[in-house]
């Protein structure tokens, strides 16, 4: 059976995909690194080799520090909620009750709708005289400038990312919940544990690998946030929602500052590759093993 194909056959099958991956992943990957060592600030058509000077400029830039700080704050706001809340929803959905599919469809709906529409919808909820401020007033708070106050803007953007992610991570948890042995729940029942204790002692330990997976996957996607910011705040007010991908976009396509864009890209690459590496080695190793 082993020699039922000619030796070159595997390469023919692989060729089209590899060509595309080389053109749109590997060449750009190397190109990014090369760009980051060049200085485009003089003549954009004749960059000169700059060594590590782009990195020393960017690492001294106050704006870039703000960007990095915002990016990690954004991650810290989104990831814990996205790791825990969808799990709670999934546990509720995983009960044998009527109408489960309707709930699943409704909760998953924001995942399939374009982020641009979701961001516009939230911008409308966040309006100064909007409905969220009305609710705040009703429960005894002062109205806030959700997207105009530097203290709240990043949090307001994070809420959108969280809203859009709940259904997605809920589905991941649901498929993992199927694998939890039923007899463990029965044993907990006999011990007289209530629902909360049961899930804390049986479900959570069993789902630890999945929770870790959700943490890494949602971290990576938080580091890559862009559309929400572009649609709602353009990085403002006063850079308070400028995260790294928005910074790269602004440098590359608005300021034509290729050197800074490329250096920031390399920094983003290193961080995301670290997260992905952990993810592939520890949490998704089944799918990617030989």
């Amino acid at each position: 059976m082993n020699n039922y194909y000619k030796k070159y056959i595997p390469y023919i099958f692989l060729l089209p995909a590899l060509v595309m991956l080389v053109i749109f992943f590997f060449i750009p990957f190397i190109y990014t690194i090369i760009l980051s060592f060049k200085d485009y600030s003089g003549d954009i058509y004749n960059p000169v080799f700059a060594g590590l000077s782009n990195y020393s400029v960017i690492l001294k830039s106050k704006e870039f520090y703000t960007t990095i700080f915002n990016t990690f704050m954004f991650l810290l706001m989104c990831v814990p909620v996205l790791a825990i809340f969808p799990l709670i929803v999934a546990i509720f959905i995983n009960q044998k009750i009527k109408g489960i599919n309707i709930y699943k469809v409704l909760i998953y709906l924001p995942v399939v709708v374009s982020i641009v529409v979701v961001a516009i919808a939230f911008k409308w909820l966040y309006a100064q005289q909007g409905i969220l401020n009305y609710i705040l007033e009703q429960i005894g708070f002062n109205p806030i400038g959700w997207l105009t106050d530097t203290k709240f803007a990043l949090f307001a953007v994070a809420l959108v990312t969280i809203y859009k992610g709940i259904g997605y991570y809920m589905m991941i948890y649901l498929s993992a919940l199927i694998g939890v042995p039923k007899d463990l729940y029965e044993a907990a029942d006999i011990d007289g544990a209530n629902e909360f204790i049961k899930h804390l002692t049986v479900t959570v330990p069993h789902l630890m690998p999945t929770i870790a997976l959700v943490v890494t996957v949602s971290s990576i996607s938080a580091l890559k946030v862009f559309a929400e910011i572009y649609v709602m705040t353009k990085g403002g007010p006063l850079n308070s929602t400028k995260t790294i991908v928005y910074y790269i976009y602004e440098r590359a396509f608005e300021n034509l500052d290729l050197s800074m864009a490329a250096s920031a890209s390399v920094i983003l690459l290193v961080v995301i590759m670290a997260f992905s590496f952990v993810n592939i080695i520890f949490f998704e190793n089944k799918r990617y093993k030989f």
Binding site: M1, Y4, P10, Y11, L14, P16, A17, M20, L21, F24, F25, F26, P28, F29, Y31, T32, V89, I93, Q95, I97, G99, N101, Y103, V105, L106, I107, Y108, L109, V112, S114, I115, V116, V117, I120, A121, F122, W124, L125, Y134, I166, Y168, M171, I172, L174, I178, L213, S221, A227, Y230, V231, V245, Y249, L258, S265, L268, I272, M273, F277, I280, Y288
Partner: protein, 280 residues
């Protein structure tokens, strides 16, 4: 009685979550249906429009070429799906079934692309696309190609199909080979039909991803006649600045196709076996 309370609390919680999930859209629809005689900033907010009208929908429909945006989004998404299905399942076959020199190397190469986020390489991708003249300033076809080709294949799709091929019994191929079936026909007539469910999952998630893609089209597109839906919808904010009735109506119009698609294909989304298929 205890069972009733349990059922009641589960339903209450899930109704509450579903309500939150729909709320931003309900509020958009409510705003879009309010006529010019009604204050959309009324305190307290009013859900049921008092000056009920479809005028905003009609008005925005006449000013914005939604059909063109639908068509552009559809062309881009359809070709992205077709290319992904073909290229992923072609590449997955040798990775699942054949032994050849450099297999480990190629496997790791493909795996490595998972770790490279598009956002970190978009600048060089743009420079390459420019160099290849795949932008809309050279015409419609090149414009579409520039939107499609960078997403023609990705490692997730290749690994998804490889998993599917691995689960097909080898005897099936052996029998076909003994019957004189060529290798390309084994792939096309045996593996692909057996793996149709995985192809469907790949197609649906690639479609959703491509349909909602915003970053790349907003970088490469300069010609409004090639705008895809997300770019066109974002543009509403500039065109109608503070006219939230029109912005809301336009946003709602733009999501109708994907909602229909989602409801029609819901079993693929909620079946639970699509874990992590694609995430932007």
């Amino acid at each position: 009685m205890r069972k009733f309370i349990k059922g009641f609390s589960i339903h209450s919680f899930l109704i509450f979550i579903s309500f939150i999930s729909l709320f931003p859209f309900i509020w958009l629809i409510s705003t879009a249906l309010k006529g010019s005689n009604e204050n959309i900033f009324a305190y307290p907010p009013i859900f049921i429009p008092q000056d009920f009208t479809f005028e905003n929908f009609i008005g925005v429909w006449h000013q914005i070429p939604f059909l063109l945006y639908f068509l552009n989004s559809f062309i881009v998404a359809a070709f992205t799906v077709i290319l992904n299905l073909i290229l992923s399942s072609l590449a997955a076959y040798p990775l699942a079934r054949m032994e050849f020199k450099g297999k480990n190397f190629i496997f790791c190469l493909v795996l490595a692309t998972i770790m490279i986020p598009f956002q970190a390489i978009m600048l060089p991708v743009y420079l390459i696309v420019l160099k290849l003249h795949l932008v809309d300033s050279y015409g419609y076809v090149t414009g579409y190609l520039g939107l499609i080709l960078p997403f023609a294949v990705n490692a997730f799709g290749i690994f998804l199909m490889r998993q599917a091929f691995l689960s097909v019994p080898k005897e099936l191929e052996e029998a076909a080979f003994i019957d004189g079936c060529s290798i390309i026909n084994i792939w096309r007539k045996i593996l692909l039909p057996v793996c149709a469910p995985s192809l469907a999952v790949l197609a649906i998630f690639t479609f959703i991803g491509s349909w909602g893609e915003f970053l790349w089209p907003s970088i490469v597109l300069t010609n409004k006649t090639l705008f895809t839906l997300p770019v066109g919808v974002n543009d509403l904010q500039g065109i109608f600045s503070a006219n939230w009735r029109y912005i809301a109506a336009g946003s709602i119009i733009s999501i109708i196709p994907i909602i229909i698609f989602f409801v029609a294909m819901q079993k693929y989304f909620v079946s639970g076996n699509t874990e992590g298929a694609v995430k932007g």
